[in-house]
């Protein structure tokens, strides 16, 4: 902790020199949502500034504004007290800002050296040529500084994730970066690699490089962080020193939204039979040790941060990804095979990316609604368009889908109504277990309420629902119980009485 404390520098009051970089009043809106609302941030040389916040709090947006990928609607930038403008990635680079995103910006079939100097290759004597010797020599220097023993001629796709990350850092350093943004840097690293990254961070600190560190792992935050800023709903909630706060305080700063009581759900008092029982499930997509129970009449939430494995669990249950360990039982029968068998046994999946995975956009509303239940409606294989339209129209009416007619192409419907079409598809299939993956993603507030009402209808009729959601308030409002996932495992279960945003986030974030 001493290295970190030493790097913090003068605390409140007594700011002798202007901070290395400052963002003031950054505001950025996208159609329908305000991603950033007058956010200010101070970045000091040699300091690791941690940025905390839930999914959608504005961290990525702020970083994209900082690196010139987004143009802020309002706000100012100051470099050592002097006003500057960032209007493009080139501007950011000139100011010494480098961002290392989670998805690396590396070209797989070029060498390490070529990647480091991409776009800035040392010139050879013939115009247009590259001075390979100089490039590799300089690359070697940079890699040695970072302690990476990889051959500079190695093609990047042959390196492991940790090594690729170090190449990215070398790339940033080669651009004389003075401000380095690290977005979830340890997400894909082993413990040893994480330690190595931390020692590199310390070394960079001593060289005066400022770092912005985005992470959900509170243990790390307290270990390397010199200052912590918490964002919530696009606003800055506060900046503090790690020494003067606790993990719990941080969590409550990240949460703490007013609970919306407009939708009142009759929570399930007496759940019916066990519809889904999962014990110790593991799958090829990385999830393991998954235990779940969902009963008829219940809406069970599956919460966790982005990347915690929730969609993977859904895919494994549905048979889209292969289950490699444990047991999955649907209505007390062992569930095996792919999605086709899942559907036949009464399972339904309303996927996250409804446009890619849930709808045939250029087909009509009616076609989409009937898609999963054609066998039931037309048991003898002969499709009668009239009957099909009839069934579809009934569903449209039931779910109040706003469409000029059943033959309208689905791609022209609004997000909320498209989602209703997906739900209608499964209603017609008479599913017993329905898995919803982010059911209200990209849907406006009014439509959200309607979707919840629909889900409620489903469980009132005896179905069981597993709802994956990143919106903590949603989970609290709608679910009877919730499981929380972290690092591809189920780490906890919250009963109705314990269900709160704080508890959900705490389970999702804390390290063991």
């Amino acid at each position: 902790m001493t290295a970190v404390a030493a790097a913090v520098g003068p605390a409140h009051g007594g700011e002798q020199a202007a901070p290395l970089f400052e963002l003031r009043g950054i505001t950025k809106s996208f159609p329908g949502v305000r991603a950033l609302d007058a956010v200010s941030l101070e970045i000091r040389a040699g300091e690791v500034h941690v940025l905390l916040g839930e999914n959608g709090a504005g961290k990525s947006s702020l970083m994209k504004v900082l690196c010139g990928a987004y143009l802020a609607d309002q706000g100012e930038f100051f470099h050592r007290g002097e006003p500057v403008a960032i209007r493009s990635p080139a501007d950011a680079r000139t100011l010494g800002i480098a961002v290392i995103f989670q998805e690396f910006s590396l070209v797989p079939y070029l060498s390490v050296a070529q990647n480091i100097f991409l776009g800035r290759e040392p010139r050879g004597k013939i115009p247009g040529s590259v001075d390979h010797k100089r490039m590799h020599a300089r690359a070697r220097e940079l890699l040695d500084r970072l302690g990476l023993e990889v051959d500079t001629r190695a093609l990047v796709h042959t390196l492991g994730v940790a090594q690729q990350q170090l190449v990215e850092i070398a790339k940033a350093l080669s651009q004389e970066a003075r401000i380095l943004v690290l977005d979830e840097p340890t997400a894909a690293l082993s413990e040893r690699e994480t330690e190595r990254l931390f020692s590199i961070i310390q070394r960079l600190q001593s060289q005066g490089v400022a770092m912005i560190y985005i992470s959900h792992r509170l243990a790390e935050v307290f270990r390397v962080g010199g200052r912590i800023t918490v964002l919530r709903d696009g606003r800055k909630v506060g900046s503090l020193l790690p020494a003067s706060t606790t993990p719990d305080e941080l969590v409550s700063m990240m949460v703490g939204r007013k609970v919306d009581t407009s939708y009142a759900r009759r929570y399930c008092e007496s759940p019916g039979e066990v519809v889904l029982e999962v014990k110790g499930m593991g799958a090829v997509n990385g999830v393991s040790g998954v235990d779940l129970v969902v009963r008829a009449g219940e809406i069970v939430g599956l919460s966790g941060l982005v990347g915690s494995g929730r969609t993977e669990v859904a895919r494994a249950l549905f048979g889209a990804d292969r289950v490699t360990a444990g047991e999955v039982r649907l209505l007390n029968r062992s569930r095996e095979g792919g999605p086709d068998r899942a559907v036949r046994s009464g399972m339904a999946l309303v996927p996250e990316k409804r446009k890619q995975e849930g709808l045939a956009l250029i087909r009509s509303v009616a076609d989409n609604i009937l898609l999963a239940s054609l066998k039931q409606i037309f048991p003898r294989g002969w499709f009668s368009p009239a009957k099909g339209i009839g069934v579809a129209s009934e569903r449209i009416r039931q779910l109040r889908i706003a469409t000029p007619g059943p033959r309208q192409m689905v791609q022209f419907l609004s997000g909320g109504n498209q989602q209703k079409v997906v739900v209608a598809k499964w209603l017609s299939a008479d599913a017993k277990l329905i898995i919803f993956d982010e059911p209200t993603l990209g849907i406006d507030v009014g439509a959200k309420e309607e979707i919840f009402a629909l889900i409620d209808q489903l469980v009132q009729r005896g179905a069981a629902v597993l709802m994956i959601s990143s919106e903590l308030s949603e989970v609290v409002k709608v679910c009877d119980r919730a499981y929380v996932m972290r690092d591809k495992r189920v780490v906890g279960e919250l009963a109705r009485a314990e269900l709160s945003e704080t508890n959900l986030l705490r389970l999702a974030m804390h390290d063991a």
Partner: protein, 294 residues
């Protein structure tokens, strides 16, 4: 892949291994090589150019027409190059500026080019191109047939371009991670267009060799040659995505296709079946690749 090449050699035997025949394969393959080399670069950018054969044909027509009219090889070549580059620019611009899929764009230019070739010649060949032109196929430079010299020069030039210049580095990046290149501040569109212009220009250059070989320009001469070119590149180990490729592999691929065609010709196999055979070869090469990767 070399195994496949070897198998190819062993397959055809009747009159195949005759020295003159082998030399002939080398000569004829040069034209294909001139197309396959830039095709390699285009495929490295995750693109494709289906119009090369048609552009080559049209360039032959232009070249022959100018040669017959003016008697100047230089003018004729300039005309062919200009035509090729123009088509290349059209392809590249549509792909880069409008983001249209290369497959569809070049399919369109293929149609335009072959149509123009037929229309402007009235479906008649243009003959009488003159010995100055024919020299480029039949002549010798320091004892080596001109086509081979030109082929080798083209390969060396491409090799230098791909592996020793910024342009070449960016070609790999255009296919491997175009966004990273853009974020690195490189003018992605300029380089993307450049690759297609290069393809078109090489097709124009190849027109010189093809016209020389036939001593005339036939309006349907090279239709479909892009298929062989793409096959050669794919067999040579350049995959269709992510900027993974090997220029010398293209040379091997060209030789393999040349060998196969020649061998099948000697066995009097009709051209349509030859195409099928090449198709089998492509699939075989890809299957071998995929096993290597797992």
């Amino acid at each position: 892949m070399l195994v496949v090449l070897g198998a190819g050699f062993a397959s055809s035997s009747t009159g195949f291994l005759d020295g003159a025949n082998l030399a002939n394969i080398g000569m004829q393959s040069t034209i294909l090589l001139l197309l396959a080399l830039p095709m390699t670069l285009i495929m490295l950018t995750e693109g494709i150019d289906l119009s090369m054969g048609a552009v080559l044909t049209l360039a032959c027509v232009v070249l022959a027409a100018i040669a017959v009219k003016t008697g100047s090889v230089t003018l004729a070549l300039a005309g062919a190059l200009a035509l090729g580059a123009a088509f290349g620019f059209a392809n590249g611009a549509l792909v880069a500026w409008l983001g249209l899929p290369p497959f569809v764009v070049t399919l369109g230019t293929l149609g335009i080019a072959s149509g123009l070739a037929l229309v402007t010649t009235g479906a008649q060949s243009i003959t009488g191109v003159g010995d100055d032109v024919v020299y480029f196929y039949a002549g010798k430079l320091a004892g080596i047939p001109v086509p081979l010299v030109l082929g080798a020069a083209a390969y060396l030039a491409m090799h230098g371009l791909l592996y020793h210049t910024r342009f070449g580095t960016y070609v790999f990046a255009l296919g491997g991670n175009r966004e990273a290149l853009r974020l690195a501040g490189v003018r992605v569109n300029a380089y993307l267009i450049g690759v297609y212009v290069l393809g078109g220009a090489m097709a124009g250059f190849a027109a010189l060799l093809l016209t020389a070989r036939m001593s005339a320009a036939h309006p349907t001469a090279a239709i479909g040659m892009e298929f062989d070119a793409i096959a050669a590149v794919a067999i040579g180990g350049t995959s269709f995505e992510k900027g993974n490729g090997w220029l010398f592999g293209t040379v091997l691929g060209v030789l393999l296709v040349g060998v196969l065609r020649n061998g099948l010709n000697l066995l009097a196999v009709p051209s349509s079946l030859q195409v099928a055979a090449i198709g089998v070869l492509i699939i075989a090469a890809l299957v071998i690749e995929s096993f290597k990767n797992t």
